[in-house]
């Protein structure tokens, strides 16, 4: 029997949380040498090592800061990626959400571990002096996880009126980025019965024009030479496929530090394209955590993928024969791990 074909999905910022504290200690052995190298590097910079951070009690103000959260998440995802049993699973494409793009670049071979660490550290530390704007998250689906077109239109209309931007299209959610004043307006305007919308702590107005200065600075700090052609196809935050051989590294560099930073990250389209163009047997979501699981289910519903057309159908499918494997969930992790 041939290998199962999988698409790997890399998580974004905010996935290393109180619940996933200690993730590296449990799952980090497969990437031990890379983690050791990263720890050494951070130590030399006078920073807490990733291992230290991982073993300390979770503190929002420490663990969610970009300069700490980003490399921590990278280390966790890298460990999970290296845990995948490649004798049984063939990785046909890699995609990710937001910062997950940088991880995808690393895992797909477009960046070496050292260069990925450098990129992730640089981008994660850009706003250590103070973040630009912020992000709020708001649903556009009903209880059944089916997109509510009227609601979507109304939300987008309010976003435009408030002078904010769509930061991420995230399945059944829209992540909105903007100046705090705009976000405050939206937090009042978009109020619903449940907990939404809420502001994501320590998150800047990623993927919006407000980050033009960050993009410009990144081009100054990071060289095109960090990049190489990927070994595995990558699906970016627009749904564009970067293929081995045909990728122009200059274009990949320009996209990663340019459009990717300052324009909407369309995770919905990324996953849609990955599912359609590669038709994998499974999707594998790397840890830490599994907060993207719901969004991925909602993207399946939007596409009626595998005839999954509601939350219930998704749950049934997952219980019966999971299509989405979250490595942050112990029982599912076992399915794909060595």
């Amino acid at each position: 029997m041939g290998k199962e074909r999988i698409v790997v999905i890399c998580p974004g910022r905010g996935t290393y949380s109180r619940e996933t504290s200690g993730y590296l200690k449990i799952h980090g052995t497969t990437a031990q040498s890379q983690i050791t190298w990263m720890d050494e590097h951070r130590k030399n910079e006078g920073l807490l090592t990733l291992s230290e951070l991982d073993s300390q009690p979770f503190k929002t103000k420490v663990h969610m800061r970009g300069e700490n959260a980003s490399p921590l998440i990278y280390a966790c995802s890298l460990s999970d990626f290296l845990s995948i049993d490649r004798s049984k699973y063939e990785i046909v494409a890699i995609t990710g959400n937001s910062m997950g793009w940088y991880i995808a670049l690393a895992l797909g071979g477009a960046l070496s571990n050292e260069n990925a660490f450098s990129l992730i550290n640089t981008m994660g530390s850009m706003m250590s002096e103070g973040i630009i704007g912020g992000q709020i998250i708001h649903p556009i689906v009903g209880e059944n996880w089916q997109v509510d077109e009227v609601k979507t239109k109304a939300v987008l209309n309010e976003v435009e009126k408030a002078g904010a931007y769509v930061s991420i299209r995230l399945g059944g959610y829209v992540v909105i980025g903007g100046e705090q004043k705009s976000l405050n307006t939206l937090l009042k305007k978009l109020t619903t019965d449940d907990k939404y919308p809420f502001q994501i702590p320590f998150h800047a107005a990623f993927h919006t024009p407000l980050l033009e200065s960050v993009s410009k600075k990144a081009f100054g700090l990071l060289s095109e030479l960090l990049f190489q052609k990927p070994a595995i196809p990558l699906v970016d935050g627009r749904g564009h496929i970067w293929s081995p051989f045909s990728t122009e590294t200059q274009e990949l560099y320009q996209y990663t530090l340019g459009i990717q930073v300052t324009r909407t990250y369309d995770f919905t389209t990324s996953v849609t394209v990955a599912m359609k163009e590669f038709c994998p047997d499974k999707l594998v979501l790397l840890g830490p955590g599994n907060t993207l699981g719901g969004s991925i289910g909602q993207i399946m519903i939007q596409n009626n993928w595998l005839n999954v057309d509601s939350k219930k159908a998704f749950t049934n499918r997952q219980n019966k024969e999971p299509y989405l494997i979250s490595m942050g969930m112990e029982d599912q992790r076992e399915i794909v791990s060595k």
Binding site: R5, V92, D236, R238, G239, H240, I241, P244, F245, D266, T269, T272, V273, K276, E277, F278, C279, P280, N304
Partner: protein
Amino acid sequence: MDLKARLLKDEGKCFYTIGSSGHEGNAVFGKVFPHTDMAFLHYRSGAFFIERSKQVPGTSPIYDMALSFMASSEDPISGGRHKVIGSKMLNIPPQTSTIASHLPKAVGTAFSIDRARDLDIKERELKGDSIVLCSFGDASANHATALSAINTASWITHVGGHVPIIFICEDNEMGISVPTENHWIHESFSSRPGIDYIACDGLHLIDLIIKSQRVEHDCRINRTPIFLHMKTVRLMGHAGSDIEAGYRSLSDIEATEFNDPLLHSARILIENQCLSADEILNLYESYRTRVNHVFEAATDRPKLETAKGVMATITANRNDRNVPPQPGKGSRKTLFGKEYKRLEQPQHMAKLINYTLSDILLRYSNTLVFGEDVAQKGGVYHVTADLYNQFGVRRVFNSPLDETSIIGFGIGFGHNGFVPISEIQFLAYLHNAEDQLRSEAATLPFFSEGQFTNPMVLRIPGLAYQKGFGGHFHNDNSLAIFRDIPGVILAVPSNGADASKMLRTVVREAHVNGRVIVFVEPIALYMAKDLHEPKDGKWNFQYPALDEEIPVGEFAEYGKGKALTIITYGNGLYLSLQAQKEIENKLKKKIKVIDLRWLSDNDIPKLLKVIGTCENVLIVDECRRTGCHGEGLLAQLVSDSKKPLNLRLHAAEDSFISLGVAATATLPSKESIIQNALELVNG
């Protein structure tokens, strides 16, 4: 993809096997030309489509084409209605391209680009420096439509116009089983006036890139047509059902396979040390696996199953537009000049249509009027008089004497935000261009789920009764070809006031809903002023207020009598109204005459309601009995009426029209209508 499609066809899961194998070189065009250049592609353009998709992030070309092969209702372009290559995002209107009928509209689109830019049409879809690509096979180059289009492009260039188009002839030297003789394409097209000819090798990526970049630059800068002749091969036969061994020798087939462009491309990559042989083979196999999975997944996707589902897109439109406001009094005064005062006076139909066109051109800045002799001459019957002076040559212009190109212009201009109001000079002339209407204009919403439409109003002076003038070809009295084209609105006004209101309706329908409309104007009634007797002025009408329209399908009633209902249109109404008084005198009862006005979209239940208790129904149809509208109407009334009706169809004889005094001999007349009416009522 072609291989997998054939394997799935054998399993009954795939419904199309005409492939792109051998034509992979067109991927280079997909790479070199930006996706903002509209491309009208022939059916071996899979590689072009996939490569162009890479320019637009978020597209999924392999999966989408798989859905198309499998006729899935989720196919994003045709919804499972046809295996077409098309995409709104990629600027590729879908069509079947089997008989090169896409070339005239490609020329029309190219012709529209500079015009839309210069007129600053806000609805325009294409950038001002865009060009158009149009591909077709070597055998297709012989179709009348191809020759018409290429000739027209040449003609436009010759008279100084801009038609930035690249005709890409993908020459695989075979038309199904018939070889294209050596050098035929070169000899036939290499020295057309105004068209540059460039040959390229479809088996050689580097030659293709160099030539493509050259023609891309030249066409964009010079705005003139180029004929790009790409020599290539055809692999795997014409289609899955085509057994090549039946008409080609094994050695011929093997020699062709030896020239597989993929092999040549692999050789070039190795020679230039881009990839190793192993890397190429691994890449090929990884794509084979990927395609297999994608195609297998697509087989499970839903299909269209019901007539309702299939027909849902016949008049679909996803590009609604708002109606512009009515022009102000001041601008109309300036426009009409001395004629402004005469707008209040009753006029004949030709004049009222003329006024209406002026107001429409003023109101809708994206409308154009073109056709043979419509500009300086103002049309054979002066219906378009003064429009040229009022709106200038960019909006009112003469076309070449080629009906295929007139409709091609219409479709093409429609693709770029215009609402063309084109004219075919006489009804009989349309027959030479019928397919442009039938297979191209009318089908586009159907094949694209309304993502692309062909907004157009095709005015056609026609029908008979021209006082002994012209003979058959100026008096053709058959509208049969419009009867069975789904989605086309067919209007036949009988008087000036109706014509004005109906013309406003159809332009709005085209502008807002993207509809295709045929507007047949009865020539014999153009100048008619009187109805019953000379100088009674009863066929002269006041120019209707600007906001007056007649909805599609709405008919008119003349009289309330119940002894007899005459249903008719066009000249038939004029003659029936003349006969009405005499019939009523002879029957000593009142009758009713209904003017259908529209020969499509008839509301039969409403018609039956208006017929009401009247038992006698005479259908008067000036067109030839076989295939006339009355024939279908008769059947529908019989079928749908809940009570027995005493019905008769009085139509023209199944004859061509004669010259001279016998010109009306085969047609219904006032006298024959009276006779038929009396016979019907009196038994």
